[in-house]
Symmetry: C2
Subunit: 425 residues, 2 copies
Amino acid sequence: MKNYQSMSKEELQSEYDILLSKYNEMKQQGLSLDMSRGKPAPEQLDLAMPMLDILTGNEMMNTENGFDTRNYGILDGIPEAKKLFADMLELKPENILVGGNSSLNMMYDSVARSMSFGVMGSTPWNKLEKVKFLCPVPGYDRHFAICELFGIEMINIPMDNKGPNMDMVEELVANDDSIKGIWCVPKYSNPSGITYSAEVVKRFGALKPKANDFRIYWDNAYVVHDLTETPDELVNIYEECKKNSNEDMVFEFASTSKISFSGAGIAVMGASVDNLNFIRKHLTIQTIGFDKMNQLRHVKYYKDINGIKEHMKKHKEIIAPKFDAVINALNTNIAPYGIATYETPNGGYFISFNTMSGCAKRVGQLCKDAGLVMTPSGATFPYGNDPDDSNIRIAPTYPSIEELNTAMELFCYCVKIATIEKLLK
Amino acid sequence: MKNYQSMSKEELQSEYDILLSKYNEMKQQGLSLDMSRGKPAPEQLDLAMPMLDILTGNEMMNTENGFDTRNYGILDGIPEAKKLFADMLELKPENILVGGNSSLNMMYDSVARSMSFGVMGSTPWNKLEKVKFLCPVPGYDRHFAICELFGIEMINIPMDNKGPNMDMVEELVANDDSIKGIWCVPKYSNPSGITYSAEVVKRFGALKPKANDFRIYWDNAYVVHDLTETPDELVNIYEECKKNSNEDMVFEFASTSKISFSGAGIAVMGASVDNLNFIRKHLTIQTIGFDKMNQLRHVKYYKDINGIKEHMKKHKEIIAPKFDAVINALNTNIAPYGIATYETPNGGYFISFNTMSGCAKRVGQLCKDAGLVMTPSGATFPYGNDPDDSNIRIAPTYPSIEELNTAMELFCYCVKIATIEKLLK
């Protein structure tokens, strides 16, 4: 086995012919495989089914302070749900706003609110000449889509395995008051799987933005989503902000979409009391309040943060072997050839894979032609534009292990084919 | 018993003294009564409790077309929920968007979307010098609050027991392209309880607005909320619009907040396919989708529109006697004195009461001082300003009959006291 880059043209061509015949063999099978979306597998969703039987009898329907969750009232979350999610995010209940079932919707609303009404009294962003967000890349396409919809200019920030390039972040936010936000998935990042280092989080907390309505959008989507016995630790961003008298600077987000049910979970936002007071003023006009019975259902089922952590161990038992299957395939079939890089994450939902420059789109096309759907290449970058055409997000949770093994066999052929095509050009 | 307006000053003063002593007697009792909010009573919420037991077993969790409601996917409602709510609104499933638990949130989002992105390709409203909405009065305070938040100028449109003054509506929308909407609660209107007549609805369908992004905001909140054996009939607005090739002109809204659970119902929007296509383009960026398990729970429980109608009969059994108690108290203690007007509604959640001009605030204050909370006077008008200081919204559903009887005794004293104070001035 040889590194492709040290092979002669003839060797590469002969390798290519072999790979292409194997690829074509698989193509004949009429496969229909999907590694494109961070969707829980049905077995994961089964785990939370007992939650559906937990609310029975009228006496069960009241909050701990005697409020009937079935009726109108309570805008920002029942007290016991605030407590549960405060523990999950290591905040106080007063810093928690419990929402509907979609944390993406809470992020969208936060940006939309800022566009129309500003942030804690600042000028509404739609009155400004220019609004910009920093986007650590690769990142989550739905964050970028919100910015694009509102015409917010996105600036790529390179990431390594410690997090975003903080020199760039510090420099940019300190000097440009049109920069109003940065999208972060700080733990088991989507897609790279890395967790921001303590130093990175501390530097985030100490940012000195020129714009007083700059906010860190801290999407802690994978806060309890460990996959190994040596999970990553994320430093508490709110505490770091507080140390620098910066506690208004961060909006945290999370949800139970990948804890209980993706289609019927609970979303939550964490922020300073002053931020939440400003938000509540608008929220009381926006809605009659969110689904309190589903909040109660979640609290009565999980009871406390330990209940959530125990539940997440069962998720791990189901999906960790899937991550192993992908990593093993890559270790065996890609690593020896020196043609790509990838991280082995300790949690989250993704494995981020980097081909040689200029190969990702071709890999996606080859996969698609043979019946394997991958996340569209480029999707992990603002405007769908990966300048290196290199990053591919692999989502191993939904398919079965058997499907994954087939998918990865095919994927590795595609990577090799695309790489040799590139090298032979 | 004499009409107050034909009484001498001395007779009024003597009546006043008697009333005041009765009022003070009640005030001593330290009452704590609330007729301010259209909240279902606990007994009404109990009706839907079996719904919580309906989703059991993994095989129950799929939609009719085999989609797992527990997972991600399906942006705008599961097919069977679209069908159910289409039947409720007399629309086709293709005209239905199923949302979260709050129809107010869908209305807010509709206005917010129009502000930022326009309506089916029109100029975003926040780029316009001026945006105006027509507001039939008295109306629903939360509609008006949305306009006020976005700086949309509100124009009062008088209502009678057939609906809004359509001469005014036609004239205004035909000549002013800054008028972009009108808020309507067409059936069992909040608060007046009247239903728009067939002629009014036909005239709505035939409107010729100058602004092509004008929309009728048709909040059909009480579409199945009958209280008598002779319910009102509302003509189908969408059909009327279609007859005039105006089917893009209406946004319909409804919810199960007063059918199943106020804190955990299902909200729905009805509109033309072209409107919904425009909305879906933004919605797919706004959210991962709404709670599909709660949609499925509702459909499996009610089965079809007849299931909803049967369920509503049970609501009627609980709340019709409460409306009767209020109306009886008014017929006995107010009508003979010729000092106020009110409608006896065939459905909905409210009784609208009009004092003599300039008395409503004083009535509210007297009630409050004696422990009875009413909807703040003025709330049923844009900017909280009832130019006649006359309208009081009575919400009889939440208190028990016993509490209602006490509350209405007190309320009638307050009305009489305020009226005599006015007459003696």
